[in-house]
């Protein structure tokens, strides 16, 4: 514990440098905007800002990008509450009761509780990250290729089980992503696969054009031509203060949401999205007055908002400690670190203590910045929402082109982005969730390499996966999840996913 405190002090000494503070502030600000604007979620926002971090040092880059990430989580809730437009997917649940509160004239307290919940959850999330990540990293030092293979397999099945909508469709999208990841030079044999004689494809397909295409461009295509957004009401600062009753009702949902979000955040998948659904389901279920939900229950805002924020922090744990992204957003974060020559993994925390602890400390600071930034400035942000979408989406699209191009100075990336945008648009029309594609893309080379290394270690004996206790545990969990995922095909009836509302979302 003393060591942790000492490390944290080191972290704060890094994070309180003026330059780092400024970028944390910019990140939160940009993130809030990104989260509020329809058509740009946190993933596309982070991907697009990636080129802007080239000239910065690695610590500042991570601080900036993660500021965008949790800023966007928060910004999304503002539009959900005020306009019933989820700026990004994790805020879908907030729309239900948040907007109902707005209609009853309680928009201010809803915003305030969302901000307080996010702050509490964010702070606890960082605390958990601080305690868990180094422990997990020490544990992960014992991981060899077989463990990574089993871990990645388990990750995919957890993802399929936890994501909303049909599990088969999720697995299909993961498969599609894995195939995309096969493009490029095979690290073990030197063969260039599926490159169609395009030299640049030898390096494989980058995560940025795919992420921006799937989540930015396809969103623009889906929403282009929609009518003008509805009128927004602008709460004043005095209206923000919740009543004592509202406070009392929110305390437990915030704490439960924090815990649920954090636990789900560590698991692979679109954690922050699922956690908000689960939290809403839990709150509705244990409430003594479930009929209030949907009509402006403050618990329905407090729980999901806290959950998605602590999940956002929890997701950093496997990313920092294992080097394994649990969501497309983490995949882009890893890409950002790698651009600066740092590869996340069990050694990161010991080798780059300043980076890790500086980052942890900057998240504390980011949470404070968000709280003081968002509440007083909510009126200003709301004014920006009045910009008509017909002006907004062309600019978003041009930003996408700019961002994708400048990662590698490559027009090919722009083409990939546009193709992925078209594919993503069609898949979404058919009810597919796209997050597994981005995850599959980044995990597939890791999976292939660790599988083949394992087999090389054992001279081709698959028994190597059964000799190791960690591997066996993970494989058993994977098998159980796989059987669960087959269940709805053969047995009718609802499972827990329907109870918490996961199935309601396509």
């Amino acid at each position: 514990m003393a060591e942790t405190m000492q490390n944290l002090l080191l972290g704060f000494s890094v994070a309180l440098q003026p330059s780092v503070l400024v970028y944390a502030f910019i990140g939160c600000l940009v993130g809030t905007l990104v989260g509020m604007l329809p058509g740009l979620g946190p993933l596309a926002g982070i991907s697009l800002l990636l080129p802007a971090t080239f000239g910065l040092n690695p610590i500042i880059s991570v601080v900036l990008l993660s500021g965008v990430y949790y800023g966007a989580m928060y910004g999304g809730s503002t539009t959900s509450i005020l306009m019933r437009i989820p700026g990004e997917a994790a805020s879908v649940m907030t729309c239900v009761d948040g907007y109902a509160m707005t209609q009853r004239g309680r928009a201010g307290p809803a915003l305030a509780i969302a901000a307080i919940g996010s702050f509490v959850a964010g702070t606890f999330g960082v605390f958990g990250l601080m305690l868990l990540a180094p422990t997990l990293a020490t544990f992960a030092l014992r991981f060899g290729p077989p463990e990574y293979t089993a871990l990645l397999l388990m990750g995919f099945l957890v993802l399929a089980y936890m994501t909303g909508g049909s599990m088969l469709k999720t697995l299909a999208m993961a498969g599609f992503g894995l195939l995309l990841g096969m493009i490029g030079i095979d690290a073990m044999s030197g063969y260039t696969r599926f490159s169609y004689d395009i030299v640049e494809l030898g390096d494989g397909i980058g995560i940025v054009p795919v992420a921006v295409g799937l989540f930015g461009v396809s969103e623009v295509l889906l929403t282009a031509g929609q009518p003008v957004p509805p009128k927004v009401q602008k709460p004043t600062l005095r209206e923000l203060i919740p009543s004592r009753e509202e406070f009392r009702l929110s305390v437990w949902p915030i704490l439960r949401g924090t815990l649920i979000g954090f636990l789900i955040g560590i698991i692979p998948g679109s954690a922050h999205i699922i956690s908000s659904f689960v939290s809403y389901g839990v709150e509705r279920r244990i409430s003594k007055h479930p009929e209030r939900f949907g009509n402006g229950a403050i618990e329905g805002v407090a729980g999901p908002e806290s959950a998605n924020n602590s999940a956002a922090q929890g997701a950093f744990i496997p990313m920092m400690a294992l080097g394994i992204p649990t969501s497309p957003i983490m995949a882009v974060m890893i890409a950002a670190l790698m651009l600066h020559g740092i590869s996340p993994g069990p050694m990161l925390i010991t080798q780059e203590p300043e980076l890790f602890w500086g980052f942890v400390a900057s998240m504390y600071i980011g949470n404070v910045v968000l709280l003081i930034l968002n509440l007083p400035m909510v009126g200003l942000f709301v004014t920006l929402l009045r910009v008509p979408y017909s002006y907004l989406y062309p600019c978003v699209l041009c930003f996408c082109i700019l961002g994708c191009y400048s990662v590698n100075n490559s027009t090919l990336d722009v083409w990939i982005m546009l193709v992925m945008g078209g594919i993503g648009y069609v898949f979404r029309k058919f009810g597919y969730d796209l997050a597994p594609v981005a995850l599959g893309l980044i995990l597939s080379p890791m999976l292939e390499l660790s599988l083949r290394q394992s087999l090389a270690m054992s001279a081709g004996d698959y028994g190597i996966f059964l000799d190791r206790p960690i591997t066996v545990t993970m494989l058993v969990i994977s098998a159980v999840l796989f059987l669960f995922s087959l269940k709805p095909l053969f047995f009718k009836g609802k499972d827990w996913r329907a109870d918490v509302g996961l199935d309601e979302k396509a």
Partner: protein, 159 residues
């Protein structure tokens, strides 16, 4: 073309999941076919063609399952495509933009793209469209190229 609902008792037509499932199956078959070029190796010693084949088989099976169990999904004809025309138009203009980017430079491409989007697709006032287009192009160029030192393509005429 609009579909009128058929008389009572007519088939609902093909289901959306059947289409997407079959598409995924076809994609998997195509990848499997393309994968011939690489040695698959053996189970004990996988070659470069091993994983792609494995994933293609996985995708094919999942696609088949989606199609087989897709009989109860919503009929394909019931998916609304109100934004499809505009989406295709937006995509086509973006493709033209991608083609132009390295040929006429960043700033000209962005101005042209935005003028097209705002003036032609959205039919905004020409003056407003031009102002946004020039403003966006100049400001982003200044922020990214001048401040953040990101390399952006120039036109052959030097700007």
């Amino acid at each position: 073309m609009t579909r009128t609902p058929g008389p009572a008792g007519a088939r609902d037509g093909i289901r959306s999941d059947q289409i997407s499932g079959v598409f995924l199956l076809l994609l998997a078959l195509y990848v499997g076919w393309q994968d011939r070029a690489f040695p698959v190796g053996t189970l004990a010693d996988p070659g470069p063609g091993f994983m792609p084949l494995l994933i293609a088989i996985f995708l094919g099976v999942v696609g088949l399952l989606i199609a087989v169990f897709g009989g109860k999904s919503e009929p394909f004809s019931s998916i609304p495509w109100p934004e499809a025309r505009r989406a295709v138009l937006v995509l086509v203009i973006s493709v033209a933009g991608a083609f132009a980017l390295e040929r006429v430079g960043y700033r000209l491409t962005m101005i042209a793209l935005l003028v097209f989007f705002l003036g032609v697709v959205e039919r905004r006032h020409p003056f407003a469209a031009a102002a946004v287009a020039v403003g966006f192009s100049v400001i982003t160029y200044y922020v990214f190229s001048t401040l953040l030192q990101v390399q952006l393509p120039h036109s052959p005429w030097g700007f």
